[in-house]
Symmetry: D2
Subunit: 351 residues, 4 copies
Amino acid sequence: MPTIPVGILGATGMVGQQFVALLARHPWFRVAWLGASQRSEGKAYREAAAWRLAAPLPDEVGDLDVDAATPGRAPQLVFSGLDSSVAGEIEAAFAAAGHIVVSNARNHRMEPTIPLLIPEINADHLALLDAQGAPGTTPGWKGRIVTNPNCAAVVLAMALAPLRAFGLKTAIVTTMQAISGAGYPGVASWDILGNIIPFIGGGEEEKIETETKKILGCLNDKRIELHPVTISAQTTRVGVQNGHTLSASVGLEHRPSLDAIVEAWRTFKGRPQELGLPSAPAQPIVYLTEPNRPQPSLDVDRGGGMTVSVGRLRPCPVLDYKFIALGHNTIRGAAGAAILNAELMHREGLL
Amino acid sequence: MPTIPVGILGATGMVGQQFVALLARHPWFRVAWLGASQRSEGKAYREAAAWRLAAPLPDEVGDLDVDAATPGRAPQLVFSGLDSSVAGEIEAAFAAAGHIVVSNARNHRMEPTIPLLIPEINADHLALLDAQGAPGTTPGWKGRIVTNPNCAAVVLAMALAPLRAFGLKTAIVTTMQAISGAGYPGVASWDILGNIIPFIGGGEEEKIETETKKILGCLNDKRIELHPVTISAQTTRVGVQNGHTLSASVGLEHRPSLDAIVEAWRTFKGRPQELGLPSAPAQPIVYLTEPNRPQPSLDVDRGGGMTVSVGRLRPCPVLDYKFIALGHNTIRGAAGAAILNAELMHREGLL
Amino acid sequence: MPTIPVGILGATGMVGQQFVALLARHPWFRVAWLGASQRSEGKAYREAAAWRLAAPLPDEVGDLDVDAATPGRAPQLVFSGLDSSVAGEIEAAFAAAGHIVVSNARNHRMEPTIPLLIPEINADHLALLDAQGAPGTTPGWKGRIVTNPNCAAVVLAMALAPLRAFGLKTAIVTTMQAISGAGYPGVASWDILGNIIPFIGGGEEEKIETETKKILGCLNDKRIELHPVTISAQTTRVGVQNGHTLSASVGLEHRPSLDAIVEAWRTFKGRPQELGLPSAPAQPIVYLTEPNRPQPSLDVDRGGGMTVSVGRLRPCPVLDYKFIALGHNTIRGAAGAAILNAELMHREGLL
Amino acid sequence: MPTIPVGILGATGMVGQQFVALLARHPWFRVAWLGASQRSEGKAYREAAAWRLAAPLPDEVGDLDVDAATPGRAPQLVFSGLDSSVAGEIEAAFAAAGHIVVSNARNHRMEPTIPLLIPEINADHLALLDAQGAPGTTPGWKGRIVTNPNCAAVVLAMALAPLRAFGLKTAIVTTMQAISGAGYPGVASWDILGNIIPFIGGGEEEKIETETKKILGCLNDKRIELHPVTISAQTTRVGVQNGHTLSASVGLEHRPSLDAIVEAWRTFKGRPQELGLPSAPAQPIVYLTEPNRPQPSLDVDRGGGMTVSVGRLRPCPVLDYKFIALGHNTIRGAAGAAILNAELMHREGLL
């Protein structure tokens, strides 16, 4: 029986619905509160959400009334799937009121005292939390905010993390991102059917180029030292339901062998695997040897959507190596990432 | 009234049908002969071809009987849309028998005496033709073979050609290629619907990496000196009907300004424009200033499918600049390319 | 040189853009005025419209300033691509102010004094126009409103019109409708990629069931007597860009032969063909004999998008015959239909 | 631990792979033998099959060697996913050799002594099996063949079965069928991307019109009396991965109320539910009350792909009622159906 009540901010959106679906049978967390915009306030979630996932809406959540997105009635732990247009202020208000906000929104990710977590990579960044509430500091709130990365950055960061050992210098990446990454209604079907849109708004490329450096960075005297890798991203939207695919070329100081890289990916593990967290995939990165993989429709759900799949590693004539990576953008890249963050915090005694 | 009879080898395939469609109202060329595999021999083209294009099959071509793919009854000028599994031998046989073979197949592209043409870029490479028939040389045939590039290489080569002036050194490119590039039946719908396949068979990446160097190379003492650019390609297949999209980063010795590059693209012209060839687009390269262009569904048919669209030029943190390019793979990248080659040869007195 | 200035109401929407595209080279009509919602007022059309068609936006229209959707500055002839949420009042205001409103909106279609035109079928219904302005009558306005049918109803009505001669009694129809029929942004890509939605809002099925009876009806003493056919429609949305496909079974009193029906379709003509109207297709209905046609991607653009394609006619074990029909929903089913209506009115001396 | 060894004929095809995937954790059946065409013979299944499903290939099956499709080494119970071009003879050979063949192929479905089973509807048709081996009868083989219906017929038959109580007379149905129904490679992506093909080969419409009558028929003196319903089908192919959607109108002698029909669907149960068969869905037919359901992407996996979803029931102006139905074509419509048949036979003591 799950005993920890949790709230969901932005509960009716695409990411909010993913939170509800993923928490449906969670061993620790139980959805007890739903916050959304005024339009939904007071309605049963069933009516307010216009459920759009194939996974069934659990009755006990469907029957909950949607509350305003204001602190007060929410439990201590709150997941945020808020849109970035409103997430900044609302999340800060919740943190100020003492809530632990585990957020998927971009607004606070790059703030110095806020962890940008991928628990397999940088669980130690949680140490930043101490600084959030320190008296006299900014922000100085009673609660805390923890964030997970942009849905494309997380795939890149996972693929690059094991390469730090080889002197990771540069990465050029082109993404082919699923429509679910744009939320709902998101991309108009007229724009994407049988088409590619070589642009994603909201600073997507900058997020990939900067967030990855923080994720891969070192905790040093309670600050994050950005990783020195230089990243160049071009992002595109494709007609795929779920799964961001990345084509990457990387420069590596030490020029390891192909086998050494594959081995580094295959053996990559972190705190979630050590702790046996409920959402942790047994293998965070899988290397596929077939010449035409990974593919969204075949590989996106590996490890319950929490495994990043990599393939086609081979020398790059310009930089050192090139490869393809794929991850589930609304699970490993959004709701699942935040839940893993909260699981880590719970086991580390931070809830 | 078109007066030059032409034949089409591989007339029933995807590229063959494009030849028929594009030649339907050609001012100079008239389809007079159709060659295909034994299965089609003797049938009316209408029955043999299972016409699959939205452009109507011209009645006068539909009524033609399909011949075997052997020299003899074909007119001197023959377009080849043959599959590479058979193109090598059949095209050589036609050239040996005295035909001018204007081919889209990959088999002969990299042979030293065979021009790999994009008339806007390297019309002077036609000088290689002299060597094809020189006594005592290889191949020494009576006819000639001229080729056009791989359907993705042509888009890259067009985008890169004007950048040679800036000291083009390196290019890293990820392609998102349309299904029509795989011929018919080509890609199974089960494999591509809502999916991306990060692999294209037949040495696609190597073709892009090597053909481009020949296309951009200099004619030097009747030989092609390969351009020194180093290219790295990752190719993917996406659910787009027509149009190969490329995401590229380039290294340029002279680091020109953004404006200088855009200007170089906009003003790029060649022999086809000078000669006013029927299939020549007024502007071979268009630079689109909207932040989310080019897109296959909006831009692929520019210039009758012969214009390459470029957009999103901006600095690349790793190399020098990055951008998106798009071209129509069965027109500029196949049948239209070959027809433009033949038009050039006609006006240069080589037919 | 086109000499008749026309305005477009709802100029920035999907249908509005189609009006602009189709009128780009019209021999009679010249776009001189654009009306849209307050959000667009005062902006250049180029900025306001976010042009979304592959056909280029004509510069002279792109440079026009968008006006409010109120009478006054508009020319006498105004096309309306307004959304039905606002079309009723705005069109009435324009008609009251003396404009000829040629509308694609559903609001006024079923009013007794307003023609619901498909010029090939019921050009004589224009006689209703006399009643619109008659003193003491409703509406009694100075101008006039003429409408074209719903985009699926027009395909059905075209296919059924020649069957009236055979004692048309019943029709059961299932539609598979393109996303462009929902306007822009219209259907969310999340909802339709790789999916079917067996429902179209706004009373789509009722429109098909009722409008068709008015279109096929007889003008009798300046009133329309509805055709007695009973129609049952189920409408679905599919992932097709343009083209509504209909699967129909019909009951026919006289049980004609298959050949008689095909002949009736093939020879079907009307006033637009007699008058040689610019947008009139040479053949309004084409019967395709291939067993797997019509198909949107191969047949939707026949006759410039104004031809309805029919195929697969065969006996129906329950009613009498069944068949497939296809039409272009934004051309024959919207903007093209309205333009043909205006052309007819011009040639009939009603402008 | 599953104890009953089973074989799979046609193991490498689309349906064969579905058998492997569905049997991966079956409580009774264990895949022990794989038969396929000569091309695959002797290869490990992993190499021969080119696994194309997102569900992982179980290692113990991947390691099996593929055998020829001939009796001998196969276990008694054999599932057949053979293509109809070869299924007739091969299945007969297996039955003659004493095997129980539980087939998805169409070849033997309409033979008088062969059950065409949907266990919820006509479990009693298994009584036909006695006749298969009766001395002096045709076929007189030692083994037995049991079949499941065509993948679209099964959806229609499920939806119609509860309506027999209301005097089911007629049904007009238009199908929108998924590409997986065409096997692999099946439909070319060029043909179906953004398109509809209003035709499915292999007599699809006739299968729906005739098989349904046998499925719904009564066992009478060891013969099946076809149900008298008259069915008219038009079948189309749409760009959906899995799930056949049907738009149906039905004529019912007794004209029940809407509520009575919904109740009949909701309460419909059969032997699989009584016996608690492993593959039996708790509810074989679900009626969805939302106005825009069922949809393939949201509803196809209900009941593990064994539930048929129905929605939008309302009066039909021409016949009596109309509605939408949806079923998973490779689970309820193919491999899952056959497995349910075998489960039934096992519990009825017929294995």
